[in-house]
């Protein structure tokens, strides 16, 4: 049917995702007034070539699953294109109005139904991915009958044969989902995904609900079937070790955007984006002598309804850039930014800090007021893991003054002072893509400091 195989990066991609967006409106009140937008997926682009496995990796909640669901139109994407060139659709030219004839997001009912035969999906939770009132055999055979195979005996024959191929037995046809273990259910899920002989299978965390040993079995089955039938695979996972094992290329996703794309060996050997670095640092290495610093990301994932300006990762990045004129140790700089963020958002409770400092200082003799004031300032620094004295004079002056203002109760002045001095280009500039060769790209300001300043136009917020 379609030309398969061929090295990655050559020829026409099977699936090409262009600036895919899925925004959910946030509605409020009686009249469902639109008050904001959750940018679950905010403009991601990647390609999958025939026979290739692309890994999509990121923390939970970063929009991986939404991206997958938008690609297959389980959720309707709100922007961008998904161009599918499989099943004899290859080499199509764009229409005169700029739309693409193979754009899945514009498929009508009939085209979409045909597309369902080409792209199938495996879901994360084996427990809920089968109708509890249907035998697994009929659940798999249902796809055949939906697409017009009316001959029941033939359906059964095909499904029984396929069940054997995924490591189950033909007699399992008549069993119910609750009679299978999680790993077996994922095998059936694989059979269901394969039964229409698709070109591309999207696996949404297919093994994350399974035990380690079962994971390995299911992964080898996926690899084996992929090799036999020349499938392309979009493999979604939060587990870097699984990605390393099964993928050819990786796309790293953070808060609705891609931050790094590249061949799996290169990304694992030389991660370019700090976020990728952090994800990789959590993978256990087989070599106990290998020195790999474990990076702990500070803070929680920001709300996709209100993503940070500039580089979206700057609120948690351990390599966040220091402005000209400030030179601090990187961890201290990170903590200083976190402290600024707390002061600006008004989340610091000076009174309780003062109380605690007072109880600490009480046993000491001397002037209680003066002693107390000094220890509260120090106390605050300790609380936020900041050194008693910053090595950089500019930063030190700003921090000292700001703490003083905080103690005087002038939170606004403190916030203003910190916000004017403790700044990073990461929050004002949207990073562009940097090509590291061999299809390895990353989007971090450290590689290309010019970037693109954030648009001052607030209208873009409602895009």
């Amino acid at each position: 049917m379609t030309e398969r195989g061929g090295p990655a990066g050559s020829g026409e991609p099977l699936l090409s995702v262009r600036d895919l967006e899925k925004h959910y409106p946030i509605e409020e009140g009686f009249l469902s007034r639109r008050v904001g937008t959750t940018r679950a997926v905010d403009g991601i682009s990647f390609e999958i070539y025939p026979g290739e496995t692309l890994g999509l990796v990121g923390e939970s909640g970063c929009g991986k699953s939404t991206a997958a669901r938008s690609i297959v139109r389980l959720d309707e994407p709100t922007g961008g294109e998904v161009i599918f060139n499989g099943d004899g659709r290859g080499r199509a030219e764009r229409n005169d109005d700029g739309t693409h004839p193979n754009d899945v997001t514009r498929f009508d009912r009939a085209e979409l139904k045909a597309f369902r035969r080409d792209v199938q999906m495996i879901f994360q939770d084996p427990a809920s991915s089968f109708d509890p009132r249907m035998t697994v055999g009929s659940a798999v055979a249902e796809l055949l009958s939906v697409h017009g195979m009316t001959d029941g005996r033939r359906r059964r024959g095909i499904v029984e044969n396929l069940l054997e191929r995924v490591g189950l037995s033909a007699t399992d046809y008549d069993r119910y989902p609750h009679e299978f273990s999680g790993g077996q259910k994922q095998r059936v899920a694989l059979a269901r995904a394969l039964v229409l002989n698709p070109d591309l299978v999207i696996a949404d965390e297919p093994v994350s609900a399974l035990d380690m040993s079962v994971q390995a079995e299911v992964l080898s089955l996926i690899e084996e079937l992929q090799a036999t039938f020349g499938l392309s695979l979009l493999f979604i996972s939060h587990d870097m070790s699984v990605i390393e094992r099964i993928c050819d290329r990786v796309a790293v996703m953070y808060l609705g955007e891609l931050v790094e794309v590249g061949p799996v060996e290169e990304i694992f050997a030389e991660p370019q984006h700090p976020y990728t670095e952090a994800l990789l640092s959590s993978v256990p290495t087989p070599d106990p002598r290998a020195e790999r610093e474990r990076i702990e990301l500070s803070g929680a994932v920001p709300d996709p309804a209100d993503p940070p300006d500039g580089c979206r990762f700057h609120t948690r990045c351990h390599r966040v850039i220091q402005p000209e004129g400030i030179d601090l140790e990187q961890p201290v700089w990170r903590r200083l930014l976190d402290f600024r963020e707390l002061v600006v958002s008004g989340a610091i409770d000076i009174e309780s800090l003062r109380d605690r400092a007072a109880t600490d200082a009480a046993p000491e003799e001397g002037d209680p007021v003066a002693e107390g004031a000094v220890s509260v300032a120090e106390r605050i620094r300790d609380e936020f893991d900041l050194p008693r004295r910053l090595s950089d004079p500019t930063a030190e002056r700003a921090l000292g003054d700001a703490i003083g203002e905080l103690l005087e109760g002038d939170t606004e002045a403190a916030a203003e002072r910190l916000a004017s001095v403790i700044v990073t280009p990461c929050e004002t500039t949207v990073p562009g893509w940097t090509d590291h060769g061999n299809g390895h790209r990353s989007s971090c300001l450290r590689h290309r400091p010019e970037g693109r300043p954030i648009a001052p136009d607030p209208a873009t917020d409602d895009r």
């Binding site: 669901r69 297959v72 389980l74 979409l112 139904k113 045909a114 369902r116 035969r117 199938q120 999906m121 879901f123 994360q124 939770d125 427990a127 809920s128 991915s129 089968f130 109708d131 509890p132 009132r133 249907m134 035998t135 659940a139 249902e142 796809l143 055949l144 009958s145 939906v146 697409h147 017009g148 195979m149 009316t150 001959d151 005996r153 033939r154 024959g157 095909i158 499904v159 044969n161 396929l162 008549d174 069993r175 119910y176 989902p177 609750h178 999680g182 899920a189 269901r192 394969l194 039964v195 229409l196 002989n197 039938f229």
Partner: protein, 398 residues
Amino acid sequence: MATEKTDKPDRFDEVDWTELAGTRRRDLSVNSLGMIATTLPLVALFAYDWRFVGEREATFGAVGLEADWSGIDFMFVFTLLLFCFYLVLPLYQHPRMTRYYWREFKRNRPAVVSLGWLLVVFVGGLLGPLVLNAPQQDVLAGHQPPVFLSIDAANVAQCLGEVRGGRCYGTWQYPLGTTRGGKGVFRTIVYGMTISTQIAFITTTIVAAIGVSVGTASAYAGGWVDELLMRFVDIVLSFPTLLMFLLILYIYGAGLGMFIFVFSLFAWGGTARYVRSKSLSVAEAAYIDASRLSGAGTYRVVRRHVVPNTASSIITQLTLLVPGFLLAEAQLAFLELGDSELPSWGQLISAGRSDLAFAPWIVLAPGIVLFLTILAFNFLGDALLDALDPQTEAETER
């Protein structure tokens, strides 16, 4: 077809979908075929009865039978057919699931006994009228006591059994005694089973049909359709059904048919609401996504996955609804608001209340039967809730 089958490969990767995808023939299941094949003659018979058979003639008069079917009887047969083809036959078609349900159900002993009792009522109601003649008025045989019991001979006009020491003993001719008018209590109870079975089946069907349609439509359409339907449900739920029924009764008069019609037409509100919330939660499950991803249309997804998975709770809810109807019928009959010719349990209780002092069996026998039936429905409902949900089981095992 037969030749094609042999040379078509049975491997998923060798199917020529471009050839198959063109076929738009929809294959009907055995169940639907059976349903259609049996419903058509029923409809024909109904049309014949309505058009060609006179008001006072028996439906089957032309073939020499005396049976006369009313609208209720046609409706009853129709619901029985539905019951056979969409409840009993599927249980037979899926023996594995049936065995599983039965194993789960069996754990609840009172429920098994209840099911036995309801089967007795069902079979009695279905076959009783065919085997036994309708209870006849016979003033001379009034107030006969049940077998093994006796009554002061002064209270009976003519004792059919033995008279010993001034007391009249019961006979096997009337195992549960007779009423003042001399109708056999046992036969009236058996005929009452028919009425109760009819009430149970027809109301259940009407409530389920409307409730499931409105509930799933509401859940799936969403938006203003959902809003509109649910507000309509609120109206239905707050409607004073009894007053409505009394009004109709006083203006037009009302029989069993009107009772069933009015009461079931205002009882589906709870079911609809229940089905809606259940459908919404089922629609979240990954297998619904998988089914949509298979290319199936919304109707197929709802019909094949959403409705069957809400079924367990619907069945339970309906089982708990039926006792309400039976009680309502009995209460109305007791208050003499209804067709006094109807051989229902309520009518029998009502007929015996003036003779309670010396002939308590006239009230007690149907009263106990009614009580047991209602109790049985309640036990059954609880047990079905536990038995019909393989998912809860699977999740606890996980």
